[in-house]
């Protein structure tokens, strides 16, 4: 009952106003960043796409229970689709970006149908095999540079924007928009009816199925949606670097290991987790990147310790201790006075 008292103790309207003010301030700050100076834009783009990848992987593994170690398949696929559309089909880069997401989603469907034949932990390695297949195939396509990769043609780069700073600002706004899209996707899905099905499925597949959740279709939907969004992010990543190679595009360390560490350290299966994890990740990297491999050792060890000692991660520990959540989606007993006694209304709060 403590949450009930805490919720009722503070007027809902004041809380909503405070939240709206905070959101507006953050949005204004983020949107105004390019006018402050472009020095930080590259890093901001990187933070935005790592956060987005983390939110997507968290949805897939933490909520839908599909533990994939092969998400680099769709990052690379999105990147390569962008380059193929621009170089081979002459599509302008900004028009090719959404198409790259579509390509990733379309390819994800047969991949999912194949992978879902493997159960639980085996699916994890199976998805890795698929990513390796994509990498090896990409290395065979000589029209896209084969094993050594290729740069985006200068004419196409000029087509994005005249000046370098304008192009960086455009990339930044795309990154921001994609991060917002991923947050909307995850939060929207979890607050919807399917979200309840997802969490039920995560806790017990058999029980969820017996209550009418179509487990297979729900998993398939989430896998394809996540793959499509991951493909969009891949296209953005290589639109920023302007160069693609099989090893960079399908890197398990960059696009899956780091993402998993972010989610685990922040708190898997919580919406706030990826945010906290991304903050820890970039702080950590800023401090220790000079130490080479030791930095990855420390990151891996930290993720192992979190998983063993505090499986709900940083955010889980905080929200358990203080009862604070950034993106509320837990269904609580209704606080509306109109509710008939004994018949509490469940509402997303």
């Amino acid at each position: 009952m403590s949450t009930f008292v805490a919720t009722a103790g503070r007027p809902a309207r004041a809380r909503q106003a405070a939240r709206a003010f905070a959101l507006t301030a953050i949005a204004a700050l983020l949107l105004g960043l390019p006018w402050w100076g472009t020095a930080w834009l590259g890093r901001a783009v990187e933070i935005a796409y790592m956060l987005s990848l983390a939110m997507l992987w968290n949805l897939l593994a933490g909520f839908a229970g599909v533990v994939s170690i092969g998400q680099q398949a769709f990052v690379g696929l999105g990147g390569y689709a962008l380059f193929a559309l621009v170089i081979l089909a002459g599509v302008p880069p900004l028009a090719a970006l959404p198409l790259a997401g579509v390509v990733a989603a379309v390819v994800a469907l047969p991949v999912a149908l194949l992978l879902f034949r493997l159960r639980g932990p085996h699916l994890a390695i199976g998805s890795w095999v698929v990513a390796e297949v994509f990498r090896l195939v990409a290395a065979q396509i000589s029209a896209l540079g084969g094993g050594s990769g290729q740069s985006l043609p200068v004419a196409a780069v000029r087509g994005i924007a005249r000046s370098r700073s304008a192009r960086e600002a455009i990339t930044y706004f795309i990154a921001l928009a994609l991060a917002a899209l991923c947050l909307a996707l995850v939060w929207g899905l979890l607050r919807a009816r399917q979200g309840l099905g997802l969490t039920a499925m995560r806790d017990s597949e058999a029980a969820a199925a017996s209550l009418g959740v179509n487990v297979r279709r729900l998993k398939l939907t989430v896998f394809v949606a996540v793959a499509g969004a991951t493909g969009l992010l891949g296209a953005l990543i290589f639109l920023q670097t302007l160069r693609i190679s099989p090893d960079a595009a399908f890197s398990v360390t960059d696009w899956t290991a780091n993402v998993i560490f972010i989610v685990v350290i922040g708190g898997i299966g919580t919406l706030e987790g990826p945010f906290a994890g991304t903050a820890v990740f970039f702080l950590f990297r800023g401090l220790f990147a000079g130490f080479g491999g030791w930095y990855m050792i420390a990151l891996g060890a930290l993720a192992i310790l979190v998983m063993l000692l505090a499986p709900a991660g940083l955010c889980g520990a905080v929200s358990h201790r203080f009862g604070v959540t950034l993106f509320p989606m837990r269904r609580r007993l209704g606080t509306a006075p109109a509710a008939a006694p004994g018949l509490p209304t469940a509402s997303p709060n």
Partner: protein, 288 residues
């Protein structure tokens, strides 16, 4: 004759892949744990052997006397301290902990041994071969590795089906809760299984080191081969795993004959074809 040779060479590589896969298969069978650090542990064993050769002046074969018990101890400790805590209904903790372990091992090896590609020298036996038919010869070294795989798998089968410990392990595989009621300490049992798994990793790692180049980041590739051999062969069947390893080796060898760039890809594709045709593998014994 050329194609026969290609197929024979591929089948011989299957012995090495079966050694990669046996430990993975055993662990999954006993405790439903998929160890994502498996490939990196094989590479770790190869580097331990290299260290024995370089610093103690051992021959690679003699280094097995240190590497095998060393890896077994590591396996026991790793299971007791870390992995036993992750077992339960949820598939996430064991996967994520072993994945973290994989990254830690790779980068520790990178710091300790640099990114250089290495190979062990077994003193000439690697190049010796017997001629079976005109155009088809079998190397002594691949033959020894295949023999080692047969001995290891046969030994494990005997241990699992003829000893009390093996019976306890099979019983735990079937029903871990009831086995505890019978007075079996499954934490100890799991740790013994992991010790056995890492002993096989040690043998696989040392034999691999004499066959192909290895470097600190080559573990995941070994994990994928091991996994593919297990799934192609069918879960729960160790002899099936040997067959799976051979099929994988033949697919790679045939693919490589067309184009060197297709060698590894052909192996992965063979796995995906088997998966789409019979998801339970070719010789399954286990339901899950």
């Amino acid at each position: 004759m050329q194609w026969l040779d290609i197929i024979v060479q591929g089948a011989l590589v299957g012995g090495l892949y079966a050694l990669f896969a046996t430990g993975l298969s055993l662990i999954f069978g006993v405790m439903r744990l998929v160890n994502l650090a498996h490939g990196d542990l094989i590479v770790l064993a190869a580097f331990l052997s290299l260290a024995c050769v370089q610093h103690l002046g051992f021959s690679p074969a003699l280094s097995l006397a240190i590497v095998v018990p060393g890896m077994a101890l590591l396996g026991y400790a790793m299971q007791r301290v870390m992995l036993n805590r992750t077992l339960g209904g949820d598939i996430l903790p064991p996967l994520l902990v072993t994945f973290g372990l994989s990254i830690v091992i790779q980068n520790t090896l990178l710091e300790a041994f640099s990114a250089d590609s290495r190979k062990l020298h077994f003193g000439g036996i690697e190049t010796a071969s017997i001629r079976l038919l005109p155009g088809v010869s079998i190397g002594w070294y691949p033959l020894i590795v295949l023999l080692a795989a047969v001995v290891v798998i046969g030994g494990l089968q005997l241990a699992l089906y003829r000893t009390r410990l093996g019976a306890a392990m099979r019983a735990t595989s079937d029903d871990p809760v009831t086995v505890r009621l019978m007075g079996v300490d499954n934490r100890h049992l799991f740790a013994l299984a992991m010790a056995a798994s890492l002993s096989v990793c040690a043998i696989a790692g040392v034999l691999m080191a004499g066959w192909t180049n290895f470097d600190p980041l080559s573990g995941p590739e070994r994990l994928l081969y091991a996994f593919e051999a297990v799934i192609i062969g069918g879960l729960g069947s160790l002899w099936g795993t040997l067959a799976g390893g051979m099929i994988l080796g033949i697919a790679q060898s045939v693919g490589g004959a067309f184009d060197p760039g297709w060698q590894i890809l052909a192996g992965h594709l063979a796995f995906l074809v088997v998966l789409s045709a019979t998801p339970r593998g070719l010789f399954p014994r286990m339901a899950d």
